[in-house]
Subunit: 339 residues, 2 copies
């Protein structure tokens, strides 16, 4: 079982392994710099459905099934899954995954969901309670935009700090040690809500940066590690603005991550040609970049250790209307190559 | 560590214990038949705040702090918590609990949240990864009503099958075996989404009954137990309509629960005098009845074994407007007296 070495940091004793994984994205993400990395790119933004919510549900379902298929499994081999999404009442998860009949533990972490679900799947597996356990999430530009900001048809002008919610999904199947996989989970840390009073829903990167700084610092300190112990430290969707702030916040604490820092939100789109302002965002952003890009490189041994910290702005339109700031959270998962 | 004896049923090996617990409710719940059981009854529906969302957040925060205080602990003793609620983006959890600075794993299970959070806290603890771990949730009539149905000032007439969202919260602190507590968790089962095509958002009990039937049957079968092994089998908020349906559904499978069946939604209000139609509902309904009423009776030994199955209608107004049915889920937690 995993050992809790501090209040909220865990070290795996029999590091759980990643059996298989998949990423599926929409057209815009497919046109981006990572387009060739994803398992599938859908030209049809509706994914064959008639509403945006059903479209996102279908995207999530297809991605889970793809990860299962790539692992040579069937859906009945998955004992249970941790899943969540951005849409109110986790609609995507409930409606998109209901027909799979896989036992479900639904989580909510906004765009930190991939870290939260992967952390829980890994801890349960290291605790001997797993088998094949899935950790999955998704987001969709059109369902998110109309829920969190404006109806698409309104044609609102976006501010320079605004981010673009990715139409993307990622799914990971976790299994116990000894599977022969070349990817394992070495440790994890549970995040806490950090709220520095940022109120601009069009600058989520700035709201999330302090939560990312907290969890990176916590994991490094608790494990007595430094950034140099990792090939990369990866955040979910801080974007350009939040990413720079994170580097600065950690530098103030004597932690220099700049040379080995990547943010999925700045990787998935081409800033010059895709008009995405501060970068990509959404649960599916970090999930698809993890499953489409990073895990292959950990598998091949190009990266030996990465610290994956998806970042969530726990933003609520209702609370923003009440003048409230944006609480944020990030969880850390330490993923490593295994020979 | 807990042993997974089937796809999704777990038996605890070193049964985690319930260190302390608390329930706080609003005025109407305090006026009900269980009024004297709760730790506190607030006359002020706003809980000293200025909006319904902040009111619910404060109710949840007060309840968590009460459970911590009753356990002779401070908030810094809680290593992490599983928490969730009904409000979009789990606003109550994010805003209500942010100042506690307790590491957070947010879950979404609609009204099944108390089962989901208690199940996860128990499994993590039996897996040796706990310490003091909190499992908490809440609901508030006013925040739920305006989100899921109509603004309160609209004065909509309620249908006979409609349920009344409780203004209530429950919090449990789970700790490892050997604490001296007289309440332990013996087992649990992870639910799956069941959707029988029920589309009436004013008859959630009927939507949820099949999910409850599935998880009760699963736990009993997987453990080779019968209803007679329990003093009570408890659902969250099926209400009168859903409760009768559950009894019938299980009877069709040869499982007779009627003599030992209770539903928190039918217990918390006085049907004759409180005009609640089919009964109470909301995450806080089963959470407060568990923490205010049942756990004391398990502690005293009046009940030796109860099966607690909070039930969640994963209802979405957006999806209801699209003509969709209501997927539901329920998780089972087997709670027992320990001498």
């Amino acid at each position: 079982m995993a050992k809790r070495i501090s209040r909220n940091t865990f070290v795996m004793e029999a590091p759980p392994e990643i059996h298989s994984y998949a990423a599926i994205v929409g057209k815009k993400e497919g046109d981006g710099p990572l387009g060739k990395c994803f398992d599938q790119v859908y030209e049809d933004t509706y994914f064959g459905q008639t509403t945006w919510e059903h479209a996102e549900g279908e995207l999530l379902r297809l991605t889970v099934l793809k990860a299962i298929e790539k692992g040579g499994l069937t859906k009945d081999d998955i004992n249970y899954m941790f899943a969540g999404d951005l849409i109110n009442q986790c609609t995507t998860t409930s409606y998109g995954l209901r027909d799979l009949e896989i036992p479900l533990l639904c989580v909510y972490g906004a765009c930190s969901t991939m870290s939260e679900s992967l952390l829980l799947a890994s801890l349960m597996t290291d605790g001997g309670m797993g088998g094949y356990v899935a950790a999955v999430t998704s987001s969709h530009f059109c369902s998110a935009e109309r829920q969190f900001r404006f109806p698409l048809s309104y044609g609102g002008v976006r501010t320079p700090t605004a981010q673009w919610t990715c139409t993307a999904s990622g799914a990971v199947i976790v299994c116990p040690e000894g599977s022969g996989s070349h990817i394992c989970i070495k440790g994890a840390a549970v995040g806490k809500i950090v709220d520095m009073g940022q109120t601009d829903a069009n600058n989520m990167g700035a709201a999330m940066a302090p939560a990312a700084a907290y969890i990176i610092k916590t994991y490094l300190n608790d494990r007595n590690m430094s950034p140099e112990d990792f090939d990369l430290i990866i955040t979910g969707d801080l974007g350009r603005v939040g990413g720079m702030l994170l580097i600065e916040l950690l530098a103030n604490d004597g932690i220099e991550i700049a040379p080995r820092y990547k943010d999925c939100g700045t990787m998935i789109f081409d800033f010059e040609n895709q008009d995405v302002h501060a970068g990509g965002s959404g649960c599916g952003c970090s999930a698809s970049v993890l499953c489409g890009y990073f895990l292959d490189k950990v598998k091949s041994g190009e990266y030996k250790n990465i610290l994956f910290c998806a970042t969530g702005a726990l933003m609520s339109p209702t609370m923003s209307q009440q003048g409230e700031s944006i609480p944020s959270i990030s969880h850390a998962v330490h993923i490593a190559h295994k020979d």
